[in-house]
Symmetry: D2
Subunit: 134 residues, 4 copies
Amino acid sequence: MKEQIIKKFQMKVEFYDVDSMGVVWHGNYVKYIEKARCMFLESCNFTYIDMLKNGFVMPIVKMDFKYIKPLKFNEIFFVEIILIECECFLKFRYILRDINNNKVALANTSQVAIDSNTKLTLYEIPKILKQALI
Amino acid sequence: MKEQIIKKFQMKVEFYDVDSMGVVWHGNYVKYIEKARCMFLESCNFTYIDMLKNGFVMPIVKMDFKYIKPLKFNEIFFVEIILIECECFLKFRYILRDINNNKVALANTSQVAIDSNTKLTLYEIPKILKQALI
Amino acid sequence: MKEQIIKKFQMKVEFYDVDSMGVVWHGNYVKYIEKARCMFLESCNFTYIDMLKNGFVMPIVKMDFKYIKPLKFNEIFFVEIILIECECFLKFRYILRDINNNKVALANTSQVAIDSNTKLTLYEIPKILKQALI
Amino acid sequence: MKEQIIKKFQMKVEFYDVDSMGVVWHGNYVKYIEKARCMFLESCNFTYIDMLKNGFVMPIVKMDFKYIKPLKFNEIFFVEIILIECECFLKFRYILRDINNNKVALANTSQVAIDSNTKLTLYEIPKILKQALI
């Protein structure tokens, strides 16, 4: 993986995402980055369903967020997702920007592969996923 | 079932349940009544896990709500759950009240039993569940 | 309002919408129909933000669902939203269909207008909203 | 603040918290630690409502999670919350444990105080909150 793989998805703040302070509740960003991750994987033709078919799942083991600027109801924003690592862990970085390109939030996730049957952690990302991604 | 079986559970509004109007988002009442239903079933020693062990699941097929008075952050409220029917359908009624006994909302749910293996609808509630409930 | 006003929106099931039975958790349909309602209002150029600017809010007072066929992860579906009444209440009907046009679920919502300042219920939908909708 | 202030709260996994893998969806831990944080603040007699009354709010600016062991439906677990800093930031650490005292997850949050009127960041936690906490 010599070059970084970046994809960018447009989203919009729904009414049910906004808290009593009038801004998106911080926990809802977990949904936004999961949606971006699923769209990323789908654009590589390898969704969570394909993982299951190939006998593994990929739970999140680490996740962090930095919140910079609040998002409001009906606001359009963009999630940039960058594939950072695909060796022992599957790591993504996320940059959320508003319509004026201002950073809204940053996030990172790490996932491991787990064998669906044995429930044991696989110490490498399965080749079939690696090939789909890179 | 000659007498109505009623149980009552105390709950509290969390910050993440409140919308930008400063009141509990109407969709979150679905969680409150599900929590009451699970507590009801657990108090009868027959949870969703026992259903699965006995080869059936019980999806919601109908649900309705009437909203009377909004709930606010940190407010304590009560969910009364009443077993209405346990024949072809499992039907519950819910009355939500605030700390002054004012009605906050009303709801109803209907569930059917489905065979976990065949995915076919069972036209009666399994006896083992009936016996646990009544 | 002589003719029914119908709009149709495409949506997709996200991973975080699916429950342990492998189907969309019934409570998440509240989000799908709210999203459709907001898109409907936006297509009429009158969003919740415009309501606030005009001094009223429109809480849900009644809501019902009928679940027909489960939705699964990554499934594309459609929400048809139909304006049923716009007099004392704002009433919408919703028909959810899968990609093969099979009915997935039905729903109805009723909303009343409330004066933002006095918190009193308005016994008619404000004219400005009526004009935007019809 | 010479000694660490630790509080511990018991919680339970609800059906609607569990994802299609049969474990609590990772995003729902944000709710668990928020609930613990609100309970911590309430036990110090200083809730989010008191913050608003005193003219400030405290949004999350950083949050991280480490997931160690999955939680399942109906499982009882404990959230230990530890006050780490109360100077420029309000920082909490969270340790989630199952009923056998095994670590389930770790988390950290940082909050800043923001003036409700001016929307400007306050570079110190308001004294009234500090006094309530320590």
